[in-house]
Symmetry: C2
Subunit: 299 residues, 2 copies
């Protein structure tokens, strides 16, 4: 029952049980990545890259200042004043969100703003380089990718917004729309929570370490996945901007450009799987069912 | 920063931080469930209900014999011959699947079939009671619900199939379509893997305990989420049919009928959130973004 397979994107080989959906990573996908040009990859701006250090490892988040410039600025301020250091993940709701911030409401803000104008949509959308996905969407007139993030667009209102796919990071808020200041952040840990689109500011996405957030024990309080007891919370050792970390200590990652030919090839591959395992091609792909490739630089 | 909220469906109260998406479970949803009629709920057939006991707790799975009768029968045979007892979860791929079975390929099958005709679609679809979701879908001509499971339908071919939403359980297979015999099962643990629709037999869904499968450490082998070492695997103490467990020891659950008025009210609520937190209603809902309510009987 054991076969030797080649892993997607890494070239590593390993013995694995056959029965799996699918039984082996696609060689076609591995080839697309392997044959991609250097210029098709970009290095995230260190000034827009966050490191959240947990005991289990580091979570790397890329901010999206094109969509949430005020939030990105405020999160930078919060991180630089050490706001998150020693705070914790206090909510892990299954198939919803992993959320962190000041669970007790006692952490002072020194330099950051307490309220921010909502950044739920941006306009004019036609100024954005939008890689349109022609496969349709249940929630928005148009969907696609902008600068490495999954996004939606409404030509009628000329607005665009980021969408709540797995691993996207947003700013929690109270009922008032200006209360999402970036001091409480969440990451989508299950099915896309697309009903939140345009109701909260998405501020970026997890580039690496999402499994550290998705594999945490679920909370049980109040139907919201809050941890019942403070000691169940997962401490944040510290949160820093990559730009504030010595170059030698940075996580060196590159992200496939979503306006590149190789990304188009991946979309096509995801629509029409051409390997031996798939018998029926979907013919379409959902904007949230396209993991955007990230890899260590030089690998 | 603390407010008191009422939890969805439970009526429990708890102090919770305010900033969250959304900050409190909807009273509207709680009211729909509270006001639902007894007859709108059904008790899953014990002959089609599996208990998978892990050290951390019990996972309850409802089989879907309407869509995969041969697989349901074979899984019953496997469970009754003790096939799964002492086997393990060997694969947890982030944002993909949690999978269990015979990782070493040494467990004999005594009464169950080794190969099964593929049950990727059923026909004729127009014989099924199909609750149509009018909001559209990226992958299928029509989507909706059949007997408590999310499903798709193609009127042209008069076929229907279950769809890979969060918590759905499928039969892994090799490249040959008849190799998915139910001896290796997976549960979707992240974004819907809709590209697998019609490429594997979905055999049911997790009614309770999904968090036990989704919160496991991710495997790192081969790009497939396989655990590197046998000792990382998560043992299955035993798997049984509810029908084979004394009534007093069964998990007594009921599931909201997906052809009920209350389920329609939930769909409408999910399209147009009417609480204070939501500022923009999506107006649509995706077939995989509708958790089908399950509750303990008598609660």
């Amino acid at each position: 029952m054991l076969i030797t397979v080649t892993a997607a994107g890494t070239g590593a080989c390993s013995d694995l049980p056959m029965r799996a959906p699918p039984p082996k990573p696609s060689q076609a996908l591995a080839d697309i990545l392997k044959n991609s040009a250097t210029g098709e990859w970009r290095q995230p701006d260190p000034a827009n890259t966050l490191y959240m250090d947990l005991a289990a490892g580091r979570v790397v988040i890329e901010l999206a200042p094109q969509f949430a410039p005020l939030h990105a600025e405020n999160i930078r301020a919060l991180v630089r004043e050490g706001y998150f250091d020693g705070l914790a993940i206090m909510r892990v709701q299954d198939n919803y969100v992993t959320q962190w911030g000041d669970a007790d409401g006692t952490r002072p803000m020194r330099t950051a703003a307490r309220t921010l104008a909502p950044e739920f949509t941006v306009s004019p959308a036609d100024k954005l380089a939008f890689t349109l996905l022609p496969d349709g969407d249940v929630y928005a007139p148009e969907v696609g990718f902008v600068g490495g993030f999954p996004a939606a667009r409404d030509p009628k209102t000329n607005t665009a917004w980021l969408v709540h796919c797995y691993g996207m990071v947003g700013a929690g808020r109270d009922n008032d729309v200006d209360t999402g200041n970036g001091a409480e952040l969440y990451a989508v840990n299950g099915s896309p929570t697309r009903h939140i689109d345009r109701n909260a500011a998405l501020v970026g996405r997890v580039l690496e370490g999402m499994a550290l957030l998705s594999s945490l024990p679920r909370g049980t309080a109040g139907g919201l996945g809050m941890y019942e007891k403070p000691e169940q919370r997962v401490p944040i050792a510290r949160m820093r901007l990559a730009a504030d970390v010595p170059e030698s200590e940075r996580v060196r990652l590159e992200v496939l450009r979503t306006d590149s030919p190789s990304f188009q090839a991946i979309l096509e591959w995801r629509r029409h799987r051409h390997d031996d395992w798939y018998k029926v091609a979907a013919g379409h792909v959902d904007v949230c069912n396209v993991p955007i490739p990230v890899r260590p630089i030089g690998k």
